[in-house]
């Protein structure tokens, strides 16, 4: 039972990385949303400037 392969260490590693991968994916969506909010602020700023020029 001390043989690493028999003890399924490989799959344990897969399992643990899967957990963090899923959470990482969620963090990435958060980062994406952050970018979207930034873009909205930019476009809103431009709109206000545009209005003031006129």
């Amino acid at each position: 039972m001390n043989d690493a392969a028999a003890r399924n260490f490989e799959y344990l590693a897969y399992g643990l990385s899967a957990v963090w991968l899923v959470l990482l994916l969620y963090v990435l969506t958060l980062v994406g949303r952050e970018g979207k909010i930034r873009a909205q602020i930019e476009s809103l700023k431009r709109m206000v400037e545009d209005r003031e020029k006129r």
Partner: protein
């Protein structure tokens, strides 16, 4: 300040997690039948706990929103549901990897798996519903109702498990669970860092929701005149 607190929580969580993994690999003996793979349970089960805690929080914040009409509760409700879905996915995937080794198949229509999947779909529906409503106040109201109805189904889903034959290992924390106290301590011990990570994610998401709301209001203000 807020950021510093969040970073602090993150550091604590990471520290706890490293310690737990170290202990898991060095101190705890292999389970007699399953080998090392059984250690996945220390993530699998706490992930499920976190997911259901999140869904429950979504119910509470839904009720709180309908009571107070305060959009902060709505922001909390979305954040918590999204994080719950992430942990639910982690639970499902680790479960599948474990099943591949122990049962030899990726997926089985065991009722515990199926009901987790069902809850996952239910709350994914909540997010779809939110995307279909433009106006923030109406969105908050309708999705609060949705989260109340969703949570009302959860017990029915779980009742039905009992009456189906299940291949799943006996519930580990109650009943005739033959779980060693060392394992049990680790199970709960590992829940703490996962929960802390969940709190960080929820806090970040809520902040985004708040800014999005301010942006929408600003845009309306500009477009209106």
């Amino acid at each position: 300040m807020r950021q510093k607190i969040l970073i602090g929580i993150g550091l604590i969580a990471a520290g706890l997690l490293l310690r737990n993994i170290w202990l898991m690999l060095t101190n705890l003996p292999d389970e007699a039948f399953q080998g090392a793979i059984f250690r996945i349970i220390f993530f699998h089960v706490p992930a499920a706990f976190t997911a259901f805690l999140c869904f429950f929080a979504s119910l509470i914040s839904g009720i709180a929103y309908l009571r107070t009409q305060n959009l902060k509760w709505d922001a909390f409700s979305v954040s918590v549901t999204e994080v719950g879905l992430a942990f639910g996915a982690a639970n499902l995937i680790t479960g599948m990897i474990w099943a591949r080794i122990i049962w030899g198949i990726w997926w089985t229509w065991d009722w515990r798996l199926t009901s987790m999947l069902l809850c996952w779909l239910l709350y994914a529906g909540y997010l779809v519903l939110r995307r279909a409503v433009e106006e923030p106040t109406e969105r908050a109201r309708l999705s609060a109702v949705m989260s109340i109805l969703s949570f009302a189904v959860v017990p029915f889903v779980f009742f039905s498990i009992k009456w189906f034959r299940t291949q799943h290992p006996q519930p580990v924390l109650y009943g005739q669970g033959k779980m060693d106290t060392g394992y049990r301590a680790m199970l709960y011990g590992n829940w703490v860092p996962l929960l802390l990570f969940a709190i960080i994610l929820i806090a970040v998401r809520m902040e985004q929701e708040r800014r999005q709301r301010e942006l929408d209001a600003l845009r309306r203000e500009i477009h209106a005149f």
